[in-house]
Structures are given as structure tokens and as C-alpha cells.
């Protein structure tokens, strides 16, 4: 479940800022919450949440080099495979469970989402939208699987085995009785409005509960 997207981006003042979807999640995590970040990478979001929100942050990450970086910065991160290891955690052990840019890599997205909402009171899920207009155009024009900033590798190398669109995800949530508390859409590194999101959003963040 490794994700290949850097968790930080270079901001206007040339300072390292959190990627926009992570910054959005960070802004909506309550103070002092217990947080599990699934697929936490090097722990950039966890570190931000710990420093600014006083949260009790834990992480899970499959890539040992990323885990080592996170532990070396003093974070509690377990090397593990979310497709299997989430089952260990007790019910409602966390206020918030976060799954960023990882759902599309899950072996069983349905199982993973159920686990997130079992472990956490709430879940934040972010994913790239395969129906983004540039993707559609690329597929239409070139007739080949698009390779873009958010889906940066060829079809045969991609960890993304369950491509989805914003509309697919909405249907999926409805079918599985998941409540949408809030949702945000992004394109070109900026937040955009919600109208025609299935066309216009490059990626999305959903805040969920059950």
C-alpha cells in the first residue's frame, strides 16, 4: 500500500507545506484527537497534527524506509499492510482514521473502508479522481492509460489497482450506508468548488462516518 506521492509540496515562500489534501484533513481533525494515519508515509501529516493540534497520532505504512524516517522523527508508526493489519485494532480505538491516496491501491476497498469506520469514529479518505477531465481527454486522444501527476506510473507498474471516480465513490458510500460529513475537491494544487466535481476534480477528500 505504498504511495508514491510526496506528502509535502513546495509552497509560495519556498517552504515545505503539506500537500493540499493533507492540509485540508489536518484543518478538520479535532484538537487532541486520537488519530490513526493509514499509509502515513514519512509521517508528515502526523507530525503536523502532533505539533499544531496536540493529537495522539499513530501511523501504519508498508514501506520500511518511510517507516524508518517516521520513527526517526519520534512518531509511532508501525510497518504493516493495511489490507490485513487493520483487523488487529479494537473498535473505536481512534477518533479519526485517515486514508490518503491509498484506497485505490487496496486489495479490498470495501473491507478497508469498513475497517476505517470500525476503528475510527470518523474517517478521512482522499483519492485521485479517474474522471478528471484531463484524464478523460488523455484517454480519448491517446487511447492509452493516462499517466499524470496524481497517477504517475504506467499501467503495468501502478500500485493503483482499483481506479475510481468521484461519482463511483459516492455510489459506493451510499451502497454501504456510509454518511458523508463533508467533502472537498482539488485541481492543480488548489481547492475548487463542488459543482461538476466528477469532471473538474483531480482528487477529492471525503469526511465519513457511520
Amino acid at each position: 500500500m505504498t504511495h508514491h506521492y510526496p506528502t509535502t509540496q513546495v509552497g509560495p515562500a519556498n517552504s515545505e507545506a503539506l500537500r493540499v489534501d493533507l492540509a485540508k484533513i489536518a484543518a478538520h481533525v479535532p484538537e487532541n484527537a486520537r488519530v490513526l494515519d493509514v499509509g502515513c508515509g514519512d509521517g508528515a501529516l502526523m507530525a503536523e497534527l502532533q505539533a499544531k493540534k496536540g493529537v495522539d497520532a499513530r501511523g501504519m505504512e508498508i514501506d520500511p524506509e518511510e517507516v524508518e524516517k517516521a520513527v526517526a522523527r519520534g512518531l509511532s508508526v508501525v510497518q504493516g499492510d493495511a489490507n490485513r493489519d487493520l483487523a488487529d485494532y479494537p473498535d473505536k480505538a481512534f477518533d479519526v482514521a485517515i486514508l490518503s491516496q491509498t484506497l485505490q491501491t487496496a486489495q479490498r476497498p470495501h473491507w478497508l473502508l469498513n475497517q476505517l469506520l470500525r476503528i475510527g469514529e470518523q474517517a478521512f479518505v482522499s483519492f485521485p479522481n479517474f474522471a478528471y477531465w484531463r484524464m478523460r481527454l488523455s484517454l480519448l486522444r491517446n487511447g492509452r492509460m493516462p499517466v499524470t501527476r496524481h497517477l504517475p506510473v504506467n499501467w503495468y507498474e501502478t500500485p493503483n489497482i482499483h481506479h475510481l471516480t468521484v461519482n463511483d465513490f459516492r455510489d459506493f458510500l451510499r451502497d454501504h450506508n456510509v454518511r458523508v460529513e463533508d467533502r472537498w475537491y482539488f485541481a492543480n494544487g488548489r481547492e475548487i468548488g463542488g459543482s461538476n466535481a466528477n469532471w473538474r476534480a483531480e482528487h477529492a477528500v471525503f469526511q465519513l462516518s457511520r
Binding site: 520500511p64 517507516v67 520513527v71 519520534g74 512518531l75 508501525v78 485494532y89 479494537p90 480505538a93
Partner: protein, 368 residues
């Protein structure tokens, strides 16, 4: 064990008798220990370091018998990952060992060495004695308890049984239970010692000889389990020792034979065979889940506020990543703050003692 003058080591006699898991009580227990770095006024900067099977308290200072540097000088010292400019590091020789703490070579009530009358001890007994040492030193809560291999077993045992005594637990290349394979290798070692006529049913201290041959074979067998096949192949391959051709005899033709023989023989200079029997037994009896009703998560039920960091190595086939994952899963089940990483290193189980820069970074980050 060669005869040697009485060791001059720092030690403390425990005031209270030590009640052991086997039901017996050990009076007048002495614990030999070393400390590095100053204890602060609030006594909250102490790190208890637990040594492995054949280790001892000389973590970061010269060994009084072998003259060699401390066994973890790369990790412990001023400015090192376990920084003695900031932390007060305590390492005690475990009960049952032979570097100044009470063990089978110590005198019992009748003045003669215990030998095989020494009670069978457990990992928890070793920790119990160290808790008594902390009591005597006035240290209520450790900054961390740290250990590799058997030291990690002690760290886990401390977390399970005395969770209020530490803020952090760092266990490296360790396990929560000895596997059938672990026990099997230890049994080979014990049988080698007991098959040596000089062992004399353990009663060899006054005889002027000691079961060096048996202890040496035990060490040789165990040493193989501390290395990886790839490591052995890289270090020795099939290369011959100081000769151009095979001798068609049973000398140490191969470098790996010569190396193992040296490891075996030099070990007998510093270790007591009976201590080897008792400590390997303690490790074999170790099963943290069994101690707590059969479910490992229940062992950590009161430790959910303790921070854990667990590290395994991909080439360690003695205490594997799978063993470590069992501990991680148990800690997740009680939602304890836990870090776990499998590091890549070529040296097998012994990686925790060797040059693995990633381990330094993890230890630095976790100890804080």
C-alpha cells in the same frame, strides 16, 4: 571457565529475598551493574539496558576479563543514539549469570557453590531482580527500558509485569516466546555441556577443571544461529584456513570451522557453563502470552500508555519478523502507541550489535 581472581565489579546486595517463578526464594541476591551518564535530580532520565544471553553489564566500558571494548559502544555513550550526556544508563548482570551477579557459581547458604542446586530462573525473575535494583537506586519510572535478543525479552517482560515503571520500551531482534526451533538449538548446547565429563553434573567448581569443550561446542552451535547464511558465505565461503588444499583429515580446513572453534574457545574464558544452562533454560521458558492466560494482548493490557518501539532484521532467522509481528499485533489490539520496523541488514540476528545506521536513527528518534 578458567579460574580467575574474584572480580572487582560494582554491585548491590538486594535487601529483600527474591521470590522466584519456580516457587523458591533466593536470599542475599547480589546484582553487579554498571552505569553511564549522570542521574538527574528528578531521577527521571534513567534508561535500563538489558543484556543478551552471554552479554553482561559492560555496555560501554572495557570488559574486565577480556579487555575488549563494551559490547554496545556504538550505541551508548556521549553523543551516541543512547546519549549518556543526557541519560543515566544502567545495565545489570542478570541473575543466573557469572559477571558478579548471583548465579550457579555463587556460594549458597552452606558456603559451597550452588552449582545445579541453583533454582531454575525465568526472564521475569531476571526483571524482578532489576526492579529491586531500581527500587534501591530510588528510580520510580524509567525513561526507557532497552534490550536486544534476550534483553528485549526482559524489556517486554518489564512492560507486561511492571508497566508503571517505564515510559518507553525498545525491543530489538527479540520475541515474546521461544519457538520449538529456538528451544531445540538451546538443547543442543546444553547437551554438549552435559556430555563433557568435566561438567561432573555441574559440580566442577572445586575440581580445577571446567566443561570447556562442551561449553565451546554449545557456543559454536549457538553462534551459527546469530549469523545469516549470506553473511557466512560472504565472510568465509568455502575458503580454506592457512592452507592451499584440503588435508583429508579433521583439522579446521575451512575458515568457517576455524572461526567457530575460536568463538567457542574464547567464550569459555569469560563464561560459566552452568550459567549457560540456566540462562538458556530461562529463555526457553519465556512465553509472555502463557504467563498472561494464553493471549499475548492480555500481557499488555496495563501497558497501553507505554510507548513501544520494536525492530526486527530481515536476515534474522532466530527471532524473525513474524515473531515480532505477533508482538506488534498484540500491542495494536490494546491500542498502545507502538512503532515497528523491519530493517534490512546482512548480519542475521547479530545485526543489532553491528553497524546498521538505520538502527541508530530509529533508536535516536525513539529514545528522544
Amino acid at each position: 571457565m578458567v579460574s580467575r581472581p574474584t572480580l572487582q565489579v560494582q554491585s548491590l546486595r538486594l535487601e529483600a529475598p527474591l521470590a522466584l517463578d519456580c516457587g523458591r526464594v533466593l536470599d542475599n541476591v547480589t546484582l553487579a551493574f554498571e552505569t553511564y551518564g549522570a542521574l538527574n535530580d528528578t531521577k527521571d532520565n534513567a534508561i535500563l539496558l538489558c543484556h543478551a544471553l552471554t552479554g553482561d553489564q559492560f555496555v560501554a566500558s572495557q570488559h574486565p576479563v577480556t579487555g575488549k571494548p563494551g559490547w554496545w559502544e556504538r550505541m551508548v555513550g556521549p553523543g551516541k543514539p543512547i546519549d549518556t550526556d543526557r541519560f543515566h544508563v544502567i545495565c545489570a548482570n542478570v541473575v543466573g549469570s557469572c559477571m558478579g551477579s548471583t548465579g550457579p557459581a555463587s556460594a549458597g547458604a552452606d558456603g559451597a557453590p550452588f552449582a545445579m542446586n541453583f533454582p531454575v530462573i525465568t526472564i521475569r525473575d531476571m526483571v524482578r531482580a532489576q526492579i529491586a535494583l531500581l527500587d534501591a537506586l530510588g528510580i520510580e519510572r524509567l525513561h526507557a527500558v532497552v534490550g536486544g535478543s534476550m534483553g528485549g525479552m526482559q524489556a517486554l517482560s518489564l512492560a507486561a509485569n511492571w508497566p508503571q515503571r517505564t515510559q518507553r520500551v525498545l525491543g530489538i531482534a527479540t520475541t515474546a516466546r521461544h519457538s520449538a526451533q529456538n528451544i531445540a538449538f538451546h538443547e543442543v548446547g546444553r547437551q554438549a555441556i552435559m556430555a563433557d565429563p568435566a561438567w561432573a553434573k555441574g559440580d566442577y567448581y572445586a575440581s580445577g577443571q571446567s566443561p570447556d569443550k562442551g561449553l565451546s561446542v554449545a557456543r559454536m552451535a549457538a553462534h551459527i544461529t546469530y549469523l545469516s547464511e549470506a553473511g557466512l558465505t560472504e565472510k568465509f565461503g568455502r575458503r580454506l584456513q592457512d592452507r592451499d588444499a584440503k588435508s583429508f583429515g579433521f583439522d579446521a580446513d575451512f575458515q568457517v570451522e576455524s572461526y567457530l572453534r575460536y568463538q567457542g574457545i574464547s567464550f569459555t574464558d569469560r563464561f560459566d557453563a552452568n550459567s549457560y544452562l540456566y540462562i538458556t533454560r530461562a529463555m526457553d521458558y519465556f512465553d509472555l502470552a502463557e504467563e498472561h492466560g494464553g493471549r499475548l494482548a492480555d500481557a499488555f493490557g496495563k501497558a497501553s500508555d507505554v510507548r513501544f518501539c520494536l525492530v526486527s532484521f530481515d536476515t534474522d532467522w532466530l527471532y524473525t519478523t513474524a515473531d515480532m509481528r505477533d508482538v506488534v499485533h498484540a500491542l495494536n489490539a490494546v491500542a498502545a502507541p507502538v512503532s515497528f520496523v523491519e530493517l534490512s541488514a546482512p548480519y542475521g540476528h547479530d545485526s543489532f550489535l553491528l553497524d546498521v545506521p538505520a538502527l541508530d536513527r530509529v533508536v535516536t528518534g525513539f529514545v528522544g
